[in-house]
Amino acid sequence: MTDLNDTGPVEPVEILLAEDEPSDADLCIRALRGKHVANHIVWVKDGAEALDFLFARGRYANRAHADRPRLLLLDLKMPRVDGFDVLRQLRADERFATMPVVIMTSSAEERDIVRGYDLGVNSYVPKPVDFASFQRAVEEVGLYWMLLNKAPGTVAVP
C-alpha cells in the first residue's frame, strides 16, 4: 500500500487519484486495475500535491507538461488544499477547463453536491461503506470515463 504508484515512465498517466485516505486509495486502485480500466494510475495524497502534479511544479517539475491525465478522481476532504479548491483552480486554467473530473467522497450532502457541480465537476459519486458497492461504483466511473466518454483533449490523439 506504500507504493501504489507505477514507476514506469513509459506510459502516459491515465488517471490521477487525489485521496488522503490510503485505504480508500488502495481499494480504488485495486478496483480500477481489476477491471483493467486503466494501466497507469498516479495517487497524490492531497489537493496541493494534485495541483503540483497537474501544473508540473515542485517535485513534479520535471514531468512533461503536456502529459495531462485523462481523468481526475478527486476526494473533497483533504489536508492543505481541499477538493473544491483543486477543482476551482483547474477550471480557471484553459488547459484543464475541460479535463474530466469526478468527485468521489464520503459526503452525500446536498450542499456539497451542488457546490461541486457549480464548480464544473463532471460527476459526483458518494463512496459507499460497503465494499461491493464501492467496487461497483469505482468500476462504473472508470469504465464510463475511460472507455466510453470522449473528452475534447483525447480526440486529437488517437
Binding site: 485505504s23 480508500d24 461503506v129 465494499f131
Partner: protein, 519 residues
C-alpha cells in the same frame, strides 16, 4: 296672707314650723312630692317620707343635707342634686332652696324650702353629655390626630394664633406631648415652625374664609420630644365656630412601606431579569453544546466510514482473490468480519441520518398524507423480500411538515410494522388518522410480536432495541423518527403488548387550509 299667691307659682313651697311639723305646702309642692302634707312626718324622716334620693342613684338623700333640716338649723342652702320618687314611680329631678325665717327677735319661726322641677334642664344636660361622650368616644378611637382650636385674634381682628380646646389621644401621641401640656396652650407656642413654614397662615385663612384645607404628604420640621426632626403629615383643617378643627396623620410609615415595596419590586424585577438572563444563557449553551454534539457525532461517524470500508474491502478481496489459501474455517471467520463491518456501517449511516435531521432547516408545507403513505408502502414493497402483510391505508388527514422528513417517519414506522409482524401468516398493518382542531394524529397498527410497555420509554432512544434476536435493525430508526417529529413540532408515542401487536402514533400540526377543501 301670702298663701293664695304661693298657690299660683310654678315652684314648690313647703313650710314647716320651727318644731319641724309640716305647716304648709302649695299646689306645686303637692304635685312634685306626689303627696300632700304628712302631718305625722318629722323633719328627720322627711327624706324617707317623700322618697327623696341623691339624683341618679338609689341612695336616700342624707337627712343632714336636706334643705328643711339645714333651714331649721338656721342655714340657707341651694342644692341641685336631689330627685323625688313619686308614688306612681315617676322620677322628678329637683333643685331645692332652703331658707330659715326668723321672728322680730331673731328666733327661728319657720323653715321654708322651695323646690323646682329641673327635668328639662337635666334632660338637656344629659343629652349634651351623651352627645359629648359620643363625640369624645368617636375622636378618641381615631388613629389620626384630632384637635379643636379656638381662634386668637390680633388687634386688627385677624387670626393670629389658635388655642387648643381639645386634643385626642392619637394627637398627643403624634405630637409627643401630654394632653395637659397641650390643652389651653397655643399652636405657635407649641409649634413655632408653623409660622416659618407658612402653615399657620393657611390655618388662619381657613378660620377667616371657611374654605377647608387639605395637604397631602406635607414635610414639617419642628422639635418633637426634644429633638429637631422633619416629619411628613397628611393634614385636614375645617372651620368650626370661631376656630378650627384639625386632623393630621403621620405618613412616614406609609412612605416607608411604599419605599420598601418599591425596593422589593425592584429587587424582584432584578432577580427576574437575572433569572431570565440565566435561562437564556443556559438555553444558548445547551443549543450550542447540542449542536456541537451533533456536529461531533456527524464527523465521528463520517470519519469511521473510511476505516470500515477498508476492513470490509480487504475482507472481500481476501475472500475473492485469496480464498484458495484459506481453509473453510478461515473463510467463515473472514465472512464474519465482513458482516460485522457491514453491521457497523449501518449503525454509522443511522447516526449520520440522525445527526443530519437537525442540521437542515425543515420545510413547513401542507402534505397530502394519503398519497405520501401510498408511495411509501409501494416503495417498501419493491425493496421487500419475503412475506408481505395486508396493509390498509385509510383516508388520511393532511398536516404541515417537511415531506422528505415525514416520508422517513412513515418508512420507519410502516417498515417496522411489516418487520415485526412478519412472523404471522395473517399479518395485517393498518394506517389511520384522526384530526383535531390543532393536530393531525396518525396510527400505524400491526398484529405482530408487540412489545412490553415497561420499555415503552426506551423505544425512541438511540441504539435501543427491544428485540435483540430474530429481527434486523440498528436501534436507531425510532430515534430518528422522534428527532424528526420533535423538529416538526410534533410528537410520537407507542402502545403495545407482547405477542399482541403494536400501535405507533404520531401527531403533527394540522393543515388548517384542508378543512375548506374536504366536505
Amino acid at each position: 296672707m301670702l298663701f293664695p299667691l304661693l298657690e299660683g307659682i310654678p315652684v314648690g313651697i313647703f313650710i314647716v314650723r320651727s318644731g319641724g311639723q309640716p305647716y304648709y305646702a302649695n299646689r306645686e309642692a303637692v304635685r312634685l312630692l306626689g303627696r300632700g302634707v304628712l302631718p305625722s312626718a318629722t323633719a328627720a324622716d322627711l327624706a324617707d317620707a317623700y322618697d327623696v334620693r341623691i339624683r341618679g342613684t338609689e341612695e336616700p338623700y342624707p337627712t343632714n343635707r336636706l334643705a328643711i333640716v339645714e333651714a331649721l338649723a338656721g342655714r340657707a342652702t341651694d342644692h341641685d342634686d336631689a330627685e323625688i320618687r313619686q308614688p306612681d314611680g315617676t322620677v322628678v329631678p329637683i333643685q331645692i332652696w332652703g331658707t330659715p325665717v326668723t321672728g322680730p327677735k331673731g328666733a327661728l319661726e319657720y323653715a321654708i324650702t322651695a323646690f323646682a322641677d329641673v327635668s328639662d334642664r337635666v334632660h338637656a344636660q344629659e343629652g349634651l353629655r351623651a352627645s359629648e361622650e359620643r363625640f369624645r368616644t368617636s375622636v378618641e378611637v381615631l388613629p389620626d390626630g384630632f384637635a379643636v382650636f379656638s381662634a386668637i385674634h390680633d388687634s386688627a381682628g385677624g387670626v393670629a394664633d389658635f388655642r387648643y380646646e381639645y386634643i385626642n389621644e392619637a394627637g398627643c401621641r403624634l405630637d409627643q406631648r401630654a394632653r395637659e401640656e397641650t390643652v389651653g396652650h397655643t399652636l405657635v407656642e407649641l409649634f413655632p415652625g408653623l409660622v416659618a413654614s407658612g402653615l399657620l397662615a393657611e390655618y388662619a385663612r381657613v378660620a377667616e374664609t371657611g374654605e377647608p384645607l387639605a395637604r397631602e404628604d406635607t414635610d414639617y420640621e419642628d422639635v418633637y420630644g426634644g429633638r429637631r426632626v422633619t416629619r411628613a403629615f397628611d393634614i385636614r383643617i375645617v372651620k368650626l365656630g370661631d376656630g378650627i378643627v384639625a386632623t393630621w396623620r403621620d405618613v412616614a410609615e406609609r412612605r416607608r412601606a411604599e419605599e420598601t415595596m418599591a425596593s422589593q419590586a425592584a429587587a424582584l424585577r432584578r432577580s427576574t431579569a437575572d433569572l431570565e438572563d440565566r435561562v437564556r444563557q443556559r438555553t444558548t449553551d445547551l443549543l450550542r453544546s447540542n449542536a456541537e454534539l451533533e456536529g461531533f457525532s456527524y464527523s465521528v461517524a463520517h470519519d469511521l466510514r473510511a476505516p470500515l470500508r477498508a476492513i470490509h474491502g480487504y475482507c472481500q478481496i481476501l475472500l475473492n482473490d485469496h480464498a484458495g489459501q484459506l481453509d473453510e474455517d478461515g473463510q467463515a471467520l473472514l465472512g464474519h468480519v465482513g458482516r460485522y463491518a457491514e453491521r457497523m456501517g449501518h449503525l454509522i449511516e443511522g447516526l449520520l441520518a440522525l445527526a443530519s435531521v437537525s442540521q437542515k432547516e425543515p420545510g413547513r408545507v401542507p402534505i397530502d398524507m394519503t398519497a405520501l403513505v401510498e408511495s411509501v408502502v409501494a416503495g417498501l414493497r419493491d425493496g421487500h423480500s419475503g412475506r408481505w402483510p395486508a396493509i390498509a391505508v385509510g383516508q388520511l388527514a393532511g398536516a404541515i411538515g417537511d415531506p422528505g422528513l415525514i416520508r422517513k417517519v412513515w418508512e420507519q414506522l410502516i417498515g417496522n410494522a411489516v418487520k415485526f409482524s412478519a412472523n404471522r401468516a395473517d399479518a395485517a398493518v393498518s394506517v389511520e388518522s384522526q384530526a383535531t382542531a390543532t393536530e393531525a394524529i396518525y396510527h400505524v397498527r400491526d398484529n405482530g410480536v408487540g412489545f412490553d410497555m415497561t420499555y415503552a420509554g426506551k423505544l425512541f432512544g438511540v441504539f435501543q432495541r427491544l428485540h435483540p434476536t430474530g429481527f434486523a435493525g440498528t436501534g436507531i430508526g425510532l430515534a430518528i423518527v422522534a428527532r424528526i417529529l420533535g423538529h416538526q413540532g410534533g410528537r410520537v408515542w407507542a402502545d403495545g403488548r407482547v405477542g399482541d401487536g403494536a400501535c405507533f402514533s404520531f401527531a403533527l400540526p394540522a393543515d388548517s387550509t384542508e378543512k375548506a377543501a374536504t366536505p
